[in-house]
């Protein structure tokens, strides 16, 4: 018999983790919390983040030696999925997934940073994209070298958690030209450094996104993660972990939107019938459920592959992100249409799902980006 952690179904531990997460989030971070955050002009609730640290979620990918719970990528995906269901906003992906994965590859020097992440004392942002589309190799930002000092100059266009993070991972060019996947270097720097201007963006999902403008921000060789000129290699595991977790979030989001919609269809009456009894809507709901089921398999698989064979995860991760972006889009479209007018009102929750789905579809690579990765791997 295969060990359950080798299969695509949840292990007993994972079932418990999922149940616990769902229970906690329903209480601590229902969709109304996102609304409250938005209305208060707050990207996320620090108290929620503190609770997550308490429960070990911030350290889900941090080794136990650094105070983490080291539960692995499948577990991180389960947490992200449950957060997606209720649109819980936090720096989980940026900090606990992307940064933690990057830093744990970085050897003993990064132990301290990992400890602060696990403890919830530091949060990270990843400053990568400079244009409107995810394209790491297109990075043009200059890191001009003078001895052991590097001066970063340029603009990062779209940085998730960019205004609230205490630290920033920045990919900058130390050699080569934009488009060249070599010649990039990854820096880990304090977000309050002189010369770094963080401009909050008013994004549709009401979360923290920023434009980061670097004006000769000075860092040193000690701030480099991985090797000089080889930053994409240092970043890749973190990117893949982030993509897989974001895919899980989107799948949870799709499931959450579908569940709300199904509830509405069963309750709402029109033309003297429960609208959920109309066969055309039934077939569409059944189709949506099927798409979510199929995507859930890709999510589980991405988590397993990241845990068991991380060097071969590219295909699995891109499959998860591509399917999740597409499924979430279908789920929110059907959700608003099946709700009718009420779904269009700000007073109702469905709008929040549509907005987050759109942001999640773009961040860390859109459908076409990941489909192309798969196409290339499969000879298409």
């Amino acid at each position: 018999m295969k060990d359950a952690a080798q299969t695509l179904i949840d292990t007993e531990d994972e079932v418990m983790l999922r149940d616990a997460a769902r229970g906690f989030l329903a209480e601590a971070s229902p969709v109304s919390a996102l609304r409250a955050n938005r209305d208060a002009g707050r990207a996320h609730d620090p108290a929620l983040w503190a609770d997550m640290a308490q429960m070990g979620w911030t350290g889900v990918l941090v080794p136990e030696t650094a105070g983490g719970a080291d539960m692995g990528h499948r577990a991180a995906g389960i947490l992200a999925e449950e957060m997606g269901r209720v649109l819980a906003a936090s720096p989980f992906l940026s900090s606990a997934v992307i940064a933690a994965t990057v830093l744990r590859q970085a050897g003993p020097a990064a132990q301290g940073a990992l400890q602060t992440i696990a403890a919830g004392r530091a949060t990270y942002a990843l400053a990568l994209d400079e244009g409107p589309k995810f394209a790491p190799a297109a990075t043009a930002m200059q890191a001009e070298r003078q001895g052991n000092t590097f001066r970063l100059t340029g603009t990062k266009a779209f940085v998730a958690d960019g205004t609230t993070a205490s630290r920033v991972l920045v990919l900058a060019r130390t050699s080569g030209a934009a488009g060249d996947p070599e010649g990039l270097t990854l820096f880990d720097l304090d977000a309050s450094l002189a010369g770094l201007d963080r401009q909050a963006l008013s994004t549709i999902d009401s979360r923290d996104h920023a434009r980061l403008v670097f004006d000769a921000v000075a860092v040193t060789g000690d701030d480099i993660i991985g090797d000089l000129d080889n930053g994409l290699v240092a970043l890749r595991p973190g990117l893949q972990a982030g993509q897989a977790a974001l895919a899980a979030e989107l799948t949870g989001l799709a499931g959450g939107a579908a569940a709300i919609t199904l509830g509405y269809l069963k309750e709402r009456k029109q033309f003297d019938r429960t609208i959920g009894s109309f066969q055309a809507l039934q077939h569409r709901a059944a189709h949506l459920w099927s798409e979510i089921e199929v995507t859930a398999s890709a999510i589980a698989n991405a988590g397993r592959v990241l845990d068991n064979a991380p060097d071969d995860a590219a295909l699995a991760v891109s499959l998860a992100k591509a399917r999740a972006a597409q499924t979430a889009k279908l789920a929110v479209s059907e959700a608003v249409q099946m709700h009718g007018g009420i779904g269009m009102t700000d007073a109702y929750d469905i709008g929040f799902f549509i907005k987050r789905a759109r942001v999640g579809a773009e961040w860390l690579g859109d459908y076409g980006y990941h489909a192309a990765v798969i196409g290339a791997a499969r000879g298409i």
């Binding site: 409107p132 999902d205 889009k329 249409q337 007018g341």
Partner: protein
């Protein structure tokens, strides 16, 4: 050339000259949108003097309602003349002097169902832009089932007493009067106990509250009626036959769509967004394929609107097939905006980013396939009335 053709040519020359002479130059060739539109009414203030002058001159010649009878302030034009007038307005780049639900909806209903007193009272105020009307059909919880009217009007002898709630009353907060469906017989079958009623929004007991949409502010309101006293003469048509008027207006609305379908597709084009992005974007075959496919369907749909318009102008009605335009056009528009958002990437994720209001426009399109009859209702209409498929 026949006499009729000659007369039309003379009319064209005349009206063209009139537009040139009367429409202030500052208004010509400007973008026509929510900001430049003239709605009129007691609460209205013009954005500039030229708008006021243009309205006054148009009113004088009856051109705010070109085909209405002259006695009500209309232009008394024939269908052919009206068409020429519109063509010349477009050619000159002149904006409509006045737009309103009174002109589009209530007027036609009163002309068909109103009594002489009602016509004399209300139509001139509409054509002159003095009274702005809003529409009170939908109710919370009714959705597509428009006949599910719960707002009730009780006969109190010398007046009606109206209580209930309407939703999606566009611009109710800026309107002077409302035309609404109210239930006047609670025991009759759903469609048989409804009446069509006019109410002054200043009547005590009427309050209104704007609705915020997922895309932001909106013209939609909720409107509440709390023991509103309505004079007896403000009921239009026969008692309990208001559904006939509602149906007439719904058909009228769809035929307006069938006769041109303006507004079924938003103003932005896919190519426009693509042009604003880096060239390399098009290297993504999925996005590129979707852009091509969407353009194919957009062009074909544009030709379909043209074909239906040709058909309507040839005097052959479009009928229930216009439900297809509503269905296809709104679904296509949603697809187009999804594609534009995908093309814009993170630039499109801000409320007011590099592409201006793209994100709220995109969110707003989600309502296209709901308002004015959902896509599902349109498909039902096509299946039942066009394809004559059997009932369940």
């Amino acid at each position: 050339m026949s006499d009729a053709t000659e007369a039309l040519a003379a009319f064209r020359a005349d009206i063209s000259a009139w537009i040139k002479d009367n429409c202030p130059a500052s208004l010509l060739g400007r973008a026509f949108n929510e900001n430049s539109i003239v709605w009129g009414g007691r609460k209205w203030s013009f954005a500039n003097d030229d708008q006021r002058i243009w309205l006054e001159r148009a009113v004088k010649r009856g051109l705010t309602a070109p085909r209405w009878p002259v006695e009500f302030g209309g232009g008394g034009l024939s269908r052919a003349q009206e068409k020429i007038f519109r063509e010349e307005m477009t050619a000159a780049g002149a904006p409509p002097p006045l737009q309103s639900f009174g002109l589009w909806m209530l007027g036609p209903a009163l002309l068909e169902f109103g009594n002489d007193a009602q016509k004399a009272e209300h139509l001139p105020k509409i054509t002159r832009g003095e009274i702005r009307w809003c529409q009170g059909y939908s109710e919370p919880g009714a959705g597509s089932d428009l006949a599910n009217v719960q707002t009730r009007a009780e006969d109190m002898g010398d007046h009606w007493l109206v209580s209930g709630q309407k939703i999606w009353t566009s611009y109710a907060d800026q309107a002077d009067w409302i035309f609404a469906l109210v239930r006047t017989d609670r025991d009759a079958p759903k469609h048989k106990g409804i009446s069509f009623m006019l109410m002054d929004m200043d009547t005590p007991g009427i309050t209104t509250r704007p609705i915020r949409l997922i895309s932001g502010k909106s013209p939609f309101c909720e409107t509440f009626f709390d023991n509103v006293k309505v004079p007896k003469e403000q009921l239009v048509g026969e008692l309990n036959r208001g559904w006939d008027i509602a149906k007439y207006l719904l058909t009228h609305e769809r035929e307006m769509i069938g006769g041109g379908g303006q507004g079924l597709l938003g103003a932005r084009s896919v190519a426009q967004i693509i042009a604003m992005q880096e060239g390399e974007l098009l290297a993504d075959p999925v996005l590129r394929a979707e852009a091509m496919q969407t353009e194919v369907d957009t062009l074909a749909f544009g030709l379909t609107m043209e074909r239906y318009k040709d058909q309507a102008e040839a005097g052959r009605g479009v009928g229930n097939a216009s439900a297809m335009l509503k269905y296809y056009g709104t679904e296509l528009n949603k697809r187009r905006y999804e594609l534009m958002m995908a093309t814009a990437g993170s630039d499109g994720l801000e409320w007011d980013g590099a592409h201006g209001g793209l994100a709220p426009e995109w969110l707003r399109t989600k309502a296209n396939s709901i308002e004015g009859g959902t896509s599902e209702v349109m498909l039902d209409i096509i299946a039942k009335r066009v394809l004559e498929m059997p009932g369940q």
